[in-house]
Symmetry: C2
């Protein structure tokens, strides 16, 4: 179902009438893609803002052999590549593929600049989006800085637990393996090791943190 623009990070805080008036002042496109379509290629020029208003997509980084390191799934409502429009090298850093049928609202860069000048709320929203994107990447990078897999997994569990001692994993081991850039059995081994050490109890997706202190320590190994 198509998302109302009022619920997007770019337009939040504005009502539908205000948005309509603003959009009537610029030139933009609505565009649809079928499931599994390649929407944007890594390296393609990033000269427009892409607002995902229906469906979900995945962004993945490919090496020259076509092997992919999955970065993230994205659901509507969501703005793609907001951080790459104004940089020096204005190219998309990832391939973007449709996971479902999707609809986009596409605003060319010059029109986006005009739009940001038209309205203060929009400007603050956009600054917030770009900043949050940089923060997200920074966090990903921090994750890669953990040397051993056990520390990555421990950190992941801390994040996912949300202060609860018992919870269900959102991702399969396959997804985690792709996320961490390791082989799937390695994920299983890391879980098993934390269990053998009596730090967590894990049975399929159900996790219980037994010793949070030592789980925190495991992040620093």
């Amino acid at each position: 179902m198509e998302i109302k623009l009022t619920s997007t990070s770019l337009f939040k805080g504005l009502n539908e009438d205000e948005i309509d008036i603003l959009l009537s002042k610029i030139t933009f496109q609505r565009k649809q893609f079928l499931k599994n379509t390649l929407i944007v290629s890594q390296g393609e020029n990033c000269d427009r803002l892409m607002l995902l208003i229906e469906g979900s997509v995945k962004g993945e980084m490919m090496n020259q052999a076509g092997k992919s390191l999955k970065i993230e799934d994205m659901d509507a409502p969501r703005v793609l590549a907001s951080a790459f429009i104004f940089g020096k090298r204005t190219v998309f850093p990832v391939n973007i593929t449709a996971l479902t049928d999707v609809k986009f609202l596409i605003i060319p860069k010059p029109e986006l600049l005009r739009l940001l000048r038209l309205n203060d709320v929009l400007l603050q929203n956009f600054l917030g989006m770009v900043s949050s994107r940089a923060q997200f990447l920074s966090e990903k990078l921090r994750f890669h800085s953990f040397k051993v897999l056990r520390a990555k997994v421990a950190n992941y569990l801390i994040d996912e637990s949300q202060q609860q001692s018992s919870f269900k994993l959102k991702h399969s081991q396959n997804e985690l393996a792709e996320l961490f850039g390791v082989a799937r059995p390695s994920i299983g081994r890391a879980f098993l090791q934390l269990q053998d050490d009596k730090i967590i109890d894990i049975r399929y997706k159900q996790v219980t943190i037994i010793d949070k202190q030592r789980l925190l320590e495991a992040c620093n190994e």
Copy 2:
């Protein structure tokens, strides 16, 4: 020596008179810190723009054990934490310490917003800064995506060669080891392996690319 604001990424494209006029319209602080002073603590609220106009600082992230993972040194002119003023988590992610006596120009967030609205060049500069930060992080992430060390090293050599077949390395193996997050002898082994395969010739810092085609292929392993 104090840096002219015209040479900062925020004010570039404006002349001194224009900058003076703009700054006269907002409230801001000039602030100095002595060498080795802790300027900002990790977790502190990031509610102002900090423009380093003289000296150099280091940013370091601490883990829960208080062990520091060095992130980067920063020299004037430089804007600190531009991505954290408008993001969701508005706290500094690192400790910032003065490496020399330093001078800052500090602009509170509301004043920064007013400033960005006052001038289109400033707005584009600021958007460019945050975007470039995201690109930098994205590039770092791409580097981590290479699975085997040989591929990282091959990629590094391609980057460093700048299309020359013979060149000198800018970094020591120790630095490369830190950059790639591996042990130092592993770097040596990767170089040696590329040499054994007659893809490069390397003798200390002097590198000659023998077979560029296969070096490119080595990026995909």
